[in-house]
């Protein structure tokens, strides 16, 4: 495992220095995580693919600003999340189209829609935090490094985010029972 990490590291270093093949290898390594993130935010296949294109564009332009090579995945996912959040704001909508529903689950199984809707009601930071932690299993320590905040602060935010999520879910439950 140690060998693999070292190799990854030098790949990122090469990409930062302008090695195009190294950059493309990194994109291909993380493309599935990026696609799933885009789909989770945008709920639409075509838009998710467009997002991949835009994120590749931004990542290539900005890879030189990446300070810590071992966080390249988190860095890419953050670019994707920022893109998606802006995109949603600009288009002012959250949609669940039929194609998407059939892709992600059967019709009897709508539970995930409830949680997804709840996620979309969180503020940007809270949603991003839950996404990084639970969707990509990124450690609090790494998120804290990436955001340049003490670990304790990020933990507090995570608790707040989960509490907000609970609040939204409970509110929905109550409304449903009336």
């Amino acid at each position: 495992m140690e060998g693999l990490r070292l190799q990854d590291h030098s790949l990122v270093d090469r990409a930062i220095k302008g090695d195009e093949q190294a950059f493309l290898s990194i994109m291909h390594e993380h493309k599935i995580s990026l696609y799933k993130t885009a789909l989770a935010y945008l709920k639409n296949k075509d838009e998710a693919i467009e997002a991949i294109q835009e994120v590749t564009f931004r990542a290539y332009q900005n890879i030189k600003t990446l300070r810590e090579p071992s966080y390249v995945k988190t860095w890419l996912i953050r670019i994707m999340i920022n893109y998606c959040q802006d995109y949603i704001k600009k288009n002012n909508r959250v949609t669940f189209d039929d194609e998407y529903i059939s892709q992600i689950g059967t019709n009897e199984d709508y539970n995930y829609i409830e949680i997804e809707e709840a996620m979309s009601q969180l503020d940007d930071t809270q949603r991003q935090l839950l996404h990084l932690k639970y969707f990509h299993d990124i450690k609090i320590k790494d998120i804290a490094m990436m955001w340049n905040r003490p670990e304790g602060t990020v933990k507090t935010w995570l608790n707040k985010a989960l509490r907000s999520l609970r609040g939204i879910l409970e509110e929905k439950g109550e409304n449903g029972n009336v």
């Binding site: 302008g18 195009e20 950059f23 493309l24 994109m27 291909h28 493309k31 599935i32 696609y35 799933k36 789909l39 989770a40 296949k45 075509d46 693919i49 467009e50 991949i52 294109q53 835009e54 994120v55 590749t56 564009f57 931004r58 290539y60 332009q61 900005n62 030189k64 600003t65 860095w75 953050r78 670019i79 920022n82 600009k90 288009n91 002012n92 892709q103 992600i104 689950g105 539970n111 995930y112 949680i115 997804e116 996620m119 839950l130 639970y134 969707f135 608790n159 989960l162 509490r163 999520l165 609970r166 879910l169």
Partner: protein, 440 residues
């Protein structure tokens, strides 16, 4: 403590483990994004030869922050009856210009539909929206093969009678990149006085890495009556101790032109009218034009800024509002750098720029701002002896973690003496105020 929520989140993650992954399309998107980043990101400066006035770089296809535009029910009804109109409305909507949309509602859009095909690439002129001093032309490039990544080299209108067009500014968009292989774009003219010609050819040169092609497609533009309304105001307002005279407001069907003059004794140089708008008696707002020509410089201190038109709405009362301007101290309006030692010797207050580095012929900076800054700040460049240095390409990267890479290229055949002085034509430094002037 949050076991339920955590379990739900884990279930959600598992759901996504099972989604279809369209690998072919993802790989294609990575390839296009990569190519675009490598090639298209070099922004060519607007060609000056088209106008005696310098044209303020138009932020083409940087999306405005406007709310979505609604279409009235009668208009929606009309749309369904005229085939092809829906597409035109869709193209107009993307521009976030409600004045332009209202011109379409008032039958200012002319459907064209003429096309030409070469080497498997088909160009269709979809429509033209025009008033006596403006032309906005929409076209589509369809490619039946796998060819992608088109770049527009040149796009302009050539009068059929061989005459020259009056003074104007011309802007044409890069292609709006649809993954599906269809591209839509615009060619836009803003004339300084009414144009007489009606018959034109759209000349279009496009290329991608494999080939290039030139198209010439005829079209006629229906004449419009003289329609503009002029309001002479000559009122002076103050924002942060800077005097600005609002000279004249001209309302055309497709745009509103506001002519302003900055007092030469001002301590700051106004670079851009960032937050300005027109407001009527009911609070309805018409914002700046964000696509196409956004402003024109008449002289150092005088300029015309363009806003979306409310010509068809014809409100009873109308106000011009200024809230925010991009401005820097006059003694600060340049950047002094040494490209040899890679040092920034002087920059405006705020230390927005850092990490100057020379890579090949291109000099890069990091711009540190909280909000993405999509203006090309690089103006004329002079070396230590006062000799002007030419830079034909500049670069603006997207914002990541509040950092953007910006740069400009100086071709290696140009010899110059360090340090070089770069005039700043835009900068992320602002003054704010609350100015409201009655237009009518």
């Amino acid at each position: 403590m949050f076991e339920n929520e955590e379990r739900e989140l884990k279930n959600l993650k598992e759901k996504y483990e099972n989604v279809d992954i369209p690998l072919v399309e993802i790989d294609e998107a990575i390839q296009i994004g990569f190519q675009n980043a490598k090639e298209v990101m070099m922004i060519t400066k607007p060609k000056r030869k088209f106008s005696i006035w310098s044209i303020i770089a138009a932020a083409i296809f940087l999306f405005g922050i406007l709310a979505s535009i609604r279409v009235s029910p009668t208009f929606a009804d009309y749309l369904t009856k005229v085939p092809g109109m829906e597409k035109i409305v869709e193209m107009v909507r993307v521009r976030h210009d409600k004045g332009l949309l209202s011109a379409v509602e008032n039958k200012y859009a002319q459907k064209i539909g003429t096309s030409q095909e070469k080497n498997g690439i088909k160009v269709t002129i979809d429509s033209v929206i025009a008033d006596e001093q403006d032309i906005v032309l929409f076209y589509t490039i369809d490619s039946n093969s796998k060819q992608k990544n088109f770049e527009i080299d040149e796009a302009y209108l050539k009068p059929s009678n061989g005459e020259k067009l009056p003074e104007h500014s011309l802007s044409f968009g890069g292609t709006v990149d649809k993954v599906k292989g269809q591209y839509t774009s615009t060619v836009e003219y803003d004339f300084d006085k009414p144009y007489e010609q009606q018959d034109f050819n759209l000349v279009l040169k496009i290329k991608n890495e494999k080939q290039s092609a030139q198209f010439s497609i005829p079209l006629s533009i229906k004449k419009h009556e003289k329609t503009n309304q002029i309001y002479e105001l000559n009122k002076t307002v103050m924002i942060d101790d800077q005097k600005i005279k609002i000279k004249k407001v001209t309302i055309y069907p497709l745009r509103v032109a506001v002519q302003v003059e900055m007092d030469p004794s001002n301590s700051k140089k106004i670079l851009d009218f960032s937050d300005i708008k027109l407001v009527d008696q009911n609070g309805e707002v018409w914002s700046k034009i964000t696509n196409g020509t956004t402003a024109k410089n008449i002289s150092d201190n005088e300029r015309i800024v363009f806003l979306q038109s409310n010509y068809f709405k014809d409100p009873k009362e109308l106000y011009f509002v200024i809230n925010k301007l991009q401005a820097i101290d006059k003694e600060d309006e340049y950047l002094l750098v040494d490209t040899e030692t890679q040092k920034i010797l002087k920059q405006p207050n705020g230390n927005f720029l850092s990490d100057i580095v020379k890579e090949g012929d291109t000099i890069f900076f990091t711009l540190n701002t909280k909000k993405e800054f999509n203006y090309n700040m690089i103006g004329s460049i002079f070396d230590a002896n006062g000799k002007e240095i030419e830079s034909n390409e500049s670069y603006i990267g997207g914002s990541v973690s509040n950092k953007q890479r910006i740069g400009f290229k100086i071709s290696s055949r140009q010899k110059y003496m360090n340090p070089i002085k770069i005039n700043l034509v835009y900068f992320p430094s602002y003054i704010k105020g609350d100015v409201k002037v009655r237009v009518k």
